[in-house]
């Protein structure tokens, strides 16, 4: 076999393997859409579950996930943006900075179930918040920090250095420069990171298990200190814990969750490209 033939064979194999990665992804999405689309109706999205969740809708789970996503947003934003500004604008090349970076890398690597344990130990028990929306939001918020920090830092660093120099040369202080010249231009990138982080958080189940999620609740949560149902946990419950569960509701729930998460990702992508187009420099 000549070298040219070998080259052709190898390229064919590589192409085939890449197809083996990509095609199942498309199949999975298509499969869930096809199986789940039939279950989705206005009623499914807006009513309470009935008959041991075997009939009716999944409204409380959707609401719970929306609430938790919002809570996560509130919990992670201040620390995440603060840390990103610290790393991009203030941190020198020293041991402390290396430690902070190492901590963030490790936060990103901690398994989600361990976050669940931490949330249980710290928020539910130690801070006596109980299994509640607030405990769940704090847990998810901390879990989401690394994603948001790294995208936000990147966005801040992408702001041209000359804007900083010009601003400083006009007598602006360091913080004024960040506030008026850096953050406004980094905002789209930061927003992209935040939404991306939230989309991850919205799909998580393990951190919710012991901090917030309820198997079934007849009523909607009345305050932040109540438990709530949530889409990912609900999918887990109805696919393994409830006998004689209609498959269509399972697929329908999976589809709603998937759409919720992927639409957040899509929003992030749109924000990124639109803001980029508006840029004048």
């Amino acid at each position: 076999m000549s070298r040219q033939q070998a080259q052709k064979v190898v390229v064919a194999i590589i192409t085939a393997v890449a197809a083996l990665v990509v095609i199942p992804i498309i199949l999975v999405i298509a499969f869930i859409v096809i199986q789940g689309i039939g279950a989705i109706s206005w009623e499914f999205l807006t009513t309470m579950p009935r008959n041991g969740m075997r009939e009716g809708g999944i409204m409380p789970a959707i609401l719970g996930t929306v609430l938790l996503t919002f809570g996560t947003f509130i919990a992670c934003i201040p620390l995440a943006i603060g840390t990103a500004i610290y790393l991009a604008e203030y941190a020198g090349e020293n041991r402390l900075t290396r430690w902070v970076r190492l901590a963030i890398v490790n936060l990103a690597g901690i398994p989600s179930i361990v976050y669940g344990l931490f949330g249980l130990g710290a928020f539910v028990l130690f801070m006596k918040l109980g299994t509640s929306i607030i405990a769940g939001s704090l847990t998810l918020g901390i879990m989401t920090l690394p994603v948001v920090i790294s995208t936000a830092e990147e966005a801040i660093l992408a702001v041209p250095q000359r804007f900083r120099v010009v601003s400083l040369s006009l007598g602006a202080t360091r913080w004024q420069t960040i506030r008026h010249q850096v953050l406004p231009h980094a905002l789209p990138g930061i927003l992209t990171g935040v939404i991306l982080g939230l989309s991850r958080a919205a799909g998580e189940t393990a951190p919710l298990l012991f901090t917030v999620a309820a198997f079934y609740l007849p009523d909607l949560p009345a305050s932040l200190f109540d438990q709530t149902m949530a889409l990912p946990y609900h999918l887990y419950v109805i696919s393994t814990q409830v006998p004689d569960m209609p498959v269509s509701i399972q697929y329908g729930t999976a589809l709603v969750l998937l759409l919720f998460v992927l639409s957040l990702t899509l929003v992030a992508a749109i924000v990124r490209t639109r803001m980029r187009r508006r840029r004048e420099w």
Binding site: V21, Y90, G109, I113, A254, V261
Partner: protein, 324 residues
């Protein structure tokens, strides 16, 4: 009238100017305090990352240290997990995690590396623009959704292949492999991308084929980046919970060492915590052991990520030297 605080602070004779100056100075002072405050806050948020990691570890220790103190280590790492009778041997769970992770990595690494090579070296631009979002979508699919699919659709398929049950190590590994693919692909792609074009052109110029160039020149140059991709892939796979819990059968046995090993059920550390924490009494020994498993997971992933980031640091430093 001068608008701004002048450099020289020799008092002017004009009273109104001095008044204005004083007013401006006090404004400036308020601003200075505000800036001092906000810059401290920013510094504190940075530091808080270290504090949070420490707190996570401390809270795990607080709830879980009893497992290591009250149970003799030999028993704790024993071969039987039977919590109802108070037997907490976590060895089967560790073996379960290792097997599922090893299987996942064995599948994900060739797939991930080759896909990265395809995207980075072979695919035309339009395919690259199509493939990258698709892989991002894969990263975005919640693990519970993949677990659900594995449980309801993949497991029956595998059972039809002749396994006694569809809920096996292999099923778990397969799902986990796809879940760690986005991590492995994106990091290896970065590593390949970082190999200078001149290396490639040099090899091509002396008559190497594209494949020879990739195999002999590009891959070795990207080696350390690829190692990191693999390590982080392992980190991601070992910590995954929901999907694994749904599809591996959750049998806390050490599988027999037979050729059919991978078609036996197993139970991972993560799935054990998720499945049993809801049923244990807070403060009981069982409760502590579950936290103890959390400590082990924390330590494993901490080690993997610390080593990987150290390697990245070394690599970046190396690149900087090259450029300088």
């Amino acid at each position: 009238m001068k608008l701004l605080q002048r450099w020289k602070v020799v008092p002017d004779s004009d009273d109104s100017v001095i008044e204005q100056l004083r007013e401006r100075l006090s404004n400036l002072r308020i601003r200075d305090v505000w800036e001092f405050f906000i810059e401290r806050l920013i510094w504190l948020s940075g530091i808080s990352m270290i504090v949070i990691v420490a707190l996570i570890f401390l809270f795990l220790l607080r709830e879980g240290s009893a497992a290591f103190l009250d149970i003799p280590l030999r028993q704790l790492f024993g071969r039987r997990w039977y919590p109802i009778e108070g037997i907490f041997g976590i060895w089967p769970l560790i073996v379960g995690s290792i097997l599922v992770t090893a299987g996942a990595i064995a599948i994900a690494i060739p797939l991930g590396l080759i896909t990265a090579i395809y995207i980075g070296e072979i695919a035309p631009d339009w395919q690259r623009d199509l493939l990258k979002p698709i892989i991002e979508v894969l990263a975005g699919i919640p693990s519970i959704v993949l677990g659900f699919l594995g449980w309801i659709a993949l497991a029956p398929l595998i059972q039809r292949l002749g396994a006694p049950t569809g809920l096996t190590i292999f099923t778990g590994s397969l799902i986990l492999a796809y879940m760690s693919l986005p991590t492995i692909i994106s990091i290896s792609e970065d590593a390949l991308y970082a190999v200078p074009k001149s290396y490639r052109n040099g090899a091509l110029a002396i008559g190497a084929t594209q494949w020879q160039t990739i195999w002999r020149v590009v891959l070795p140059a990207a080696r350390s980046g690829l190692v990191i991709a693999i390590m982080l892939g392992i980190g991601r796979a070992i910590g995954e919970t929901m999907a694994v819990m749904l599809v591996t059968g959750n049998a806390a046995n050490i599988p027999d060492l037979t050729p059919g090993l991978i078609f036996q059920p197993a139970r991972t550390m993560t799935a054990t915590i998720a499945a049993e924490m809801g049923e244990v009494a807070q403060g009981s020994l069982h409760y502590s052991v579950l936290f103890g498993i959390g400590i082990i997971l924390f330590v494993i992933t901490f080690a993997i990520n610390s080593i990987a980031s150290r390697l990245v640091g070394v690599q970046e430093a190396g690149q900087r030297q090259k450029r300088g």
